[in-house]
């Protein structure tokens, strides 16, 4: 992903939440409490399985 720099602001990641509505919801990713803690829910550190399946070249910067 290209981050974008303007004089005062460095935009680190593209805005993509709304776009994820189009491809999302397949439910193939891990249930979040299962992974490490078993006592707290967080989805922040999870990866989308759909994107994992992409090749590394298309993964970065792909419009997903």
């Amino acid at each position: 992903m290209e981050s974008i720099r303007t004089p005062h602001i460095h935009t680190i990641n593209r805005a993509s939440l709304r776009e994820s509505l189009e491809h999302g919801g397949c439910g193939e990713c891990q249930a979040s409490c299962q992974s490490a803690c078993k006592t707290s829910c967080t989805v922040a550190n999870q990866q989308c399985k759909r994107q994992e399946r992409r090749s590394p070249e298309t993964k970065r910067g792909a419009a997903v």
Binding site: I12, L21, Q30, C33, A36, T39, S40, T42, V43, Q47
Partner: protein, 442 residues
Amino acid sequence: MVHTFEALGLKLALDVGSGALHQLDGIAYDALNPDPAERARLLSRYPTEEGAAIAAELDELRKSGALDAPDDYDASLLSEPGVVKAMCLHAAHDCNLSCRYCFAREGTYSDPSRSRMPVEVGKAALDWLIAKSGSRRALEADFFGGEPLLNLPAVMEIVAYGRKRERETGKRFSFTITTNALGLTDSAIRFINDEMDNCVLSLDGRREVHDRMRPDAGGRGSYDRALDGALRLVGGRGDKSYYARGTFTAFNLDFTNDALALADAGFAHVSVEPVVAFGDEPYALRPEHLPRILEEYDTLAAAYVQRRREGRPFSFFHFNVDLENGPCLRKRLTGCGAGNEYVAVTPEGKLYPCHQFVGREGWEIGDATTGAFDADAQRLFANNHVLNKPDCRACWAKYFCSGGCCANALAMNGRLDKPYELGCATQRKRLELALAIAAMDY
């Protein structure tokens, strides 16, 4: 909604609706101050042209959808409940340790018979999961307890059965296990490293911290035995996923030292979690501990970054945020899925919304051996998503946190839809730090 914050020396703004993260300089940070009067005061210190330039930059971001994007998504996006795709199999309501903070009361879930899951119940549970999983291919079963290794022969048979059912149905089971590492014989390790996609090893960090809270039934500390087993397992694990997972309590609010102790002991993947305790136990976390806990997460994050700089990094579960390949919005709205897509199964086959509900009066929602499942309960949990909880709807962390732990909400506030404030405060703090760490990578 825009959340501006400072963490690890960075000034950042998260645009909640779009998920965009911006790193700001001083004037941009001031220009996004949420309080209009304060904002005007701060901006008056800069030359007018600079104020105009920053306003233009912010307008560009707004136009591109990366600032002030609408964040109130429509709840009808969520699919109808009905599918279950993950389960926690309570292989044994028994344990070979007597951890003082065990939320399951020495692993028994108040079950005096200290029961173990018969193979037939485990098989029935997997069959039930397959039947409930609709078109989902990736299914999950975590062996939990108590201590699941106390029932290892049954666990092995249940996994073998799952593999057979995979071939018959085209489903794929991801098996995982959570263990205190005491029963890690060589054959147990071989089995876990072959079959388990993830393994959570319960170790608290420093020896004295571990031994204080994790004695065996005879009162002896378990650190040396657990560490030995866990390291042998990790040594043979290759690049398969695992976590050394500690618990912090009021007794070790300096838990950075425990995370580092785990890293120093040889674990590359570390997680340290707040204790689950809601009574007046001396080790319980209470609101007065909060400032200290938040400060400690700063300390931990600084140490984490420092270790990375020194070329000896470790991963900390809550600091891994993938800004590029993170979950889709639907996933972010539904969170842990307890009671909806995820259930816990007792040794007898009874279903509960999740492992923390097991044994709580009134929360049994079905039986894997008969196939009975309370669809109304499933709908109740499915509807308990971020957009239906007023506190969450107003919270900047909502699409990262996804609504918190409803087991904790129920225990603390008596209702599923009112999140536990101490949990929220720590969640938000960890997220700020995780976002700052992610920003450093660009």
